[in-house]
């Protein structure tokens, strides 16, 4: 084929068409000499260089620590997401066996990643002195396996496990590096890692999963034990005992024959396996055996592997707020602040944004049996949308003042408000009004539209009770009821799904039974009546579940978009973990007499707990839900809410509890002259803070503006000042020891005001996206929040002279409570906050 009659031009044209896309940056001279100061970093040495760029040993002059500073070869040109992706991947992973990302940013036009500086040498360097004995290799392999466990547990595959990427620190600890190739689990890819460590499937288009890494781990292990780098097990592995057996298993050509994840490797290496009776194969005792999908370790079958799939990588300040799984378990629809997204669970990949023709915040998402979705949005009123299965079209089904809706297969429309359930059919509406102390939470049609499941909450003397009912969709006649105090928690939506046998739902396990929820099943007949005994299908080690579906093969699929699994309480001058009675405790105040007060909501009777200096425990039981406890003159002021926290009828009060059981209400501001009120749909987020445990305390009250009152016993509250903007989610304030108000307005600004509202100072917190907690320590201010530009949480100490220091820095753990204590002590409430959307899948249980 001739393109032109000019041979020179034709040659050039062919050259242009065939030119390859150049890669990012040719290695050359490092961009800066050692000794150069780059922004706040002093470059003190060169640690390494490669295609990705250069790694310096550097000193962070602001935070006063040594770091490994990774820079690209050049500034500017050929922006690549890879560098940022790697930073985000590692920043989202926290484990002692992974190198931590301290910071990501840009300095003098250069993007940088500041990493933990590990003193040690690479495993590759160690290998130059020859292979190791099994007992020498085992702790190193265990370290790598633990690193992989952390990576896999977060839904990632490393894809480049090799001795060059493992560092054995001087203290003997092991760290895995380099996440430049890491992929989300399950994503099809042609990335093959380093060829000599890659499994056979690396040359095919298969979704990359954890078994890609366990194969590379096998190659690495064999190299450690035998000094041989080969993609198949050598016979000599048999001489390396149990470790050799694990490595042999890793090198299986068929992925399904390999250990399924880093967690399985850790278990296999931690528990020195004993030979199973009579299981002797060709002289080699195989102590590990696959039984179904579970492994036999020490003769004990592990539970079937639950597959956890991370669907999103959300920024910490941009969480998912509603999600549902399609009835066939293949698609997930989720909402964040940017809109409504569809995910293909099998790929897994984001399929695209679902565009609704009108603005509004998505409130609820429900999957229908026909593959379409019922979505409720709020923007003044509520709109119920029917979104078709491929997310292309959305049509309005209903508009009104309801909270959630559903559409039956016969066209019937369900509208649910706190106090009223309406099923609309042509010409005949059926209504159920909530009884006096009942709030309706949730309702949906069954697949055939003949039944409804209705969830409600009823106020009782001891607190509230949640109930599930199955009723006829035509006359709302109730056929089955189940009530339990632990039918999920107030911060958790009711989670139920129709099951081929009846109704499945999620219920919180009792306090003290560990962190977790159970999935129960009630077999039902076609008319909705119980047709068998209720049974527990599964238990999940997660506190929060936001969606449940039964897949086509009967597997249980659960969805969560926020983990509230653990509260850590760190206390004392060195912030040591403190013991807690239950995992949901939050430190609230630390009195000058030395009692550390915590609130606990998961117990049957929510309690304020105080641990005294001598280790004694004081308990002040309450009904309702607690937000804070503030010591004042030897008593404790507690803000409590009873009823429904998500909306609907609620009762709130501010009471003063004394140790002898005394209970005295305080008067509240404004129109609420009664100490106890029953009205608004959302309980006010009021806060109390007292300087030096003396009255007058200050009450922060969310009215039209956020109002601050001086609060004294038996006296009406006195308005001090008000501020226009203290946003619900991130607005925080706290009294300082010097009697001023420290106010984080939700936009990242932190101001200090006197009690007339006059601004005394502003504190610079530009490096935080938002402020989650404010506290004081002598003249300094402590603030915590997600760091700007990198998905990590920080606790920063700010000094009046502008000095600052990072006290804590973590990918998942956010400090949510900062409590200043006597004798230089500090108590911190730490929550694991995971804003991503996760799907977990387990095979059907009998």
């Amino acid at each position: 084929m001739t393109l032109t009659d000019d041979p020179a031009w034709e040659g050039l044209l062919r050259g242009i068409a065939a030119a390859s896309v150049p890669s990012a940056g040719p290695p050359g001279e490092p961009p800066f000499p050692v000794g150069h100061s780059l922004g706040r970093f002093e470059l003190r040495g060169l640690l390494g260089a490669g295609g990705f760029g250069v790694v310096y040993r550097a000193h962070d002059t602001v935070l006063g620590r040594d770091v490994a500073l990774k820079l690209p070869w050049r500034r500017g040109a050929q922006a690549s997401r890879g560098f940022l992706d790697e930073a985000r991947t590692v920043a989202a992973l926290t484990d002692p066996h992974l190198v931590s990302v301290y910071d990501v940013g840009e300095v003098d036009g250069f993007p940088f990643i500041a990493l933990e500086l590990v003193q040690g040498r690479s495993l590759r360097a160690r290998l130059t002195s020859g292979p190791m004995r099994a007992n020498e290799a085992r702790p190193i392999l265990l370290g790598v396996a633990r690193a992989l466990r952390a990576v896999h547990a977060r839904g990632w595959v490393h894809l480049d496990v090799k001795p060059d990427n493992v560092i054995v620190a001087d203290d003997g600890s092991v760290k895995l590096l380099d996440f430049g190739l890491a992929h989300p689990t399950g994503r099809a890819s042609n990335v093959g890692g380093t060829p000599s460590y890659a499994p056979p499937e690396a040359t095919t288009l298969t979704p990359r999963d954890a078994r890609f890494d366990t194969f590379a781990f096998g190659v690495l292990g064999q190299e450690l034990l035998l000094g041989v780098r080969a993609p198949r097990p050598a016979a000599e592995l048999g001489r390396s005992g149990a470790v050799g057996a694990v490595i042999r298993q890793c090198l299986a050509a068929n992925p399904s024959d390999r250990p399924a994840s880093g967690a399985v490797l850790v278990q296999a290496l931690e528990h020195r396996p004993r030979p199973a009776m009579g299981l002797v194969v060709a002289g080699l005792v195989l102590a590990l055996a696959l039984v179904g999908s579970g492994w036999l370790v020490q003769g004990r079958a592990l539970p079937p592997a639950r597959q956890h799939l991370r669907l999103t990588a959300q920024r910490v300040d941009r969480p998912i707020h509603a999600a549902a799984i399609s009835r066939d378990g293949r698609v997930v629809l989720s909402a964040d602040t940017r809109g409504l997204w569809r995910f293909d669970v099998e790929a897994p990949t984001r399929l695209g944004l679902v565009t609704l023709p009108e603005p509004g915040e998505v409130g609820t998402v429900r999957a229908r049996a026909d593959g379409a979705w019922a979505v409720s949005t709020h923007d003044g009123g509520t709109v119920l949308w029917l979104v078709d299965a491929d997310g292309e079209h959305a049509t309005v089904v209903s508009r009104g003042a309801f909270r959630m809706g559903d559409l039956g297969p016969d066209g019937a429309v369900l509208e649910l408000d706190d106090t009223r359930l309406t099923v609309r059919r042509a010409g005949a509406d059926v209504v159920r009004a909530a009884s006096g102390k009942e709030v309706l939470l949730y309702a949906t049609f069954s697949d055939d539209g003949r039944l409804l499941v209705i969830a409600s909450q009823r106020l009782q003397r001891s607190g509230w009770l949640r109930c599930l009912e199955v009723a006829s969709a035509t006359d709302l006649d109730v056929r089955w009821t189940h009530c339990a105090e632990r039918l999920t928690q107030p911060w958790m939506p009711v989670v139920a799904s129709w099951h081929p046998e009846g109704l499945a739902w999620v219920e919180t396990e009792a306090a003290g039974a560990g962190s977790g929820v159970a999935i129960h099943l009630q077999p039902l007949s076609s008319d909705g009546r119980a047709s068998g005994a209720r049974r527990r299908l599964d238990g999940i080690d997660e506190e929060t579940v936001s969606g449940l579906s039964i897949g086509q093969a009967g597997e249980l699929l659960t969805l969560r978009h926020e983990v509230k699994r653990t509260t850590e309480l760190l206390a004392g001058t060195t912030l040591q973990p403190a013991s807690v009675e239950d995992f949901d405790e939050r430190p609230s105040a630390w009195s000058e007499a030395g009692t550390l007060w915590r609130t606990q909501s998961r117990a049957r009777i929510p309690t304020v707990l105080g641990t005294t200096r001598d280790g004694g425990l004081r308990q002040l039981p309450l009904s309702g839900w607690l937000s804070s406890a503030t010591p004042v003159d030897g008593d404790v002021l507690v803000w409590t809410t009873r009823g429904n926290l998500d909306g609907g009828a609620s009762i709130w009060e501010l009471v003063r509890l004394s140790e002898d059981g005394g209970r005295e209400p305080y008067l509240l501001p404004g129109v609420l002259e009664e100490a106890v009120s029953l009205s608004r749909s959302v309980p006010p987020r009021a806060e109390v803070s007292c300087a030096h445990e003396r009255e007058p305390c200050v009450l922060g009250w969310p009215a039209e503006q956020y109002e601050f009152y001086a609060l004294e016993r038996r006296a009406p509250p006195r308005l001090l000042f008000s501020v226009p903007d203290l946003r619900e989610r991130y607005g925080k304030w706290r009294m300082s020891a010097r009697g001023t108000v420290l106010l984080a307005d939700g936009r990242g600004a932190l101001r200090e005001l006197d009690l007339s509202g006059r601004e005394l100072a502003t504190w610079g917190v530009d490096d935080l996206e938002a402020i989650l907690a404010v506290g004081t320590r002598d003249d300094d201010v402590l603030v915590s929040g997600p760091a700007r530009g990198v998905d990590r949480f920080r606790l920063v100490r700010l000094q009046p002279d502008g000095g600052r220091a990072a006290l804590l820095d973590d990918a998942l753990k956010a400090v949510t409570d900062i409590v200043d204590g006597p004798d230089g002590g500090l108590a911190l409430g730490v929550r694991v906050i995971d804003t991503d959307l996760w799907l977990s899948r387990a095979s059907a249980h009998p």
Partner: protein
């Protein structure tokens, strides 16, 4: 390619990948002007091919169909603001390419870089047209199939005219860049 006619979609895609994967990935990289984006879109295109195997009707060659699917993936990515997203990332800080697919310095010569920059001066659609016609030596009917918008083929005659304009534009750029005086 018996697998193409059997129900084993995964096997068929693997075979197609082995046969045409590198050229299609290179095509996507060139259209997007970025290897990372090309690799990402290639993975998407492979998944699309696997998902859409049952819709392959044999009206074109499988290779041509694979190109069409890849082209759609690129078009979708551009429509979905891939560029915008990358520009946004660049605002956050300009981040360089990590370990993957680094060309050694001695291969990525200035000469090749300059050829690449000439092609980069064209819009993505014209880059695709140039590569398919000149480097992949497709006939106009095949190109029309690959470049089809939402299933409606672009006429071969229109493509031919457009190609002439692309050539003229490239020649002007090359002249300006001093190629013909060297």
């Amino acid at each position: 390619m018996a697998a193409l006619h059997s129900s084993d979609a995964r096997r068929a895609v693997e075979l197609a990948l082995a046969a045409w994967g590198p050229e299609i990935e290179a095509f996507l990289s060139a259209v997007m002007g970025d290897r990372g984006a090309g690799a990402e879109l290639f993975a998407e295109a492979c998944a699309d091919v696997m998902a859409g195997m049952s819709t392959f009707q044999g009206k074109s060659s499988f290779r041509c169909w694979f190109y069409a699917v890849a082209r759609n993936a690129a078009r979708r990515a551009m429509r979905d603001g891939y560029r915008r997203k990358r520009a946004h990332d660049a605002d956050l800080g300009v981040f360089e390419q990590p370990l993957r697919s680094v060309t050694p310095r001695f291969v990525a010569t200035d000469w090749k870089r300059r050829l690449h920059e000439l092609r980069e001066a064209l819009p993505p659609d014209e880059r695709a047209l140039l590569i398919l016609r000149v480097d992949r030596a497709m006939d106009w009917h095949e190109i029309s199939h690959v470049m089809a918008e939402e299933g409606a083929d672009v006429s071969p005659a229109a493509l031919r005219k457009r190609f002439e304009r692309v050539k003229a534009r490239l020649k002007a750029l090359a002249t300006e860049d001093g190629w013909f005086s060297e």
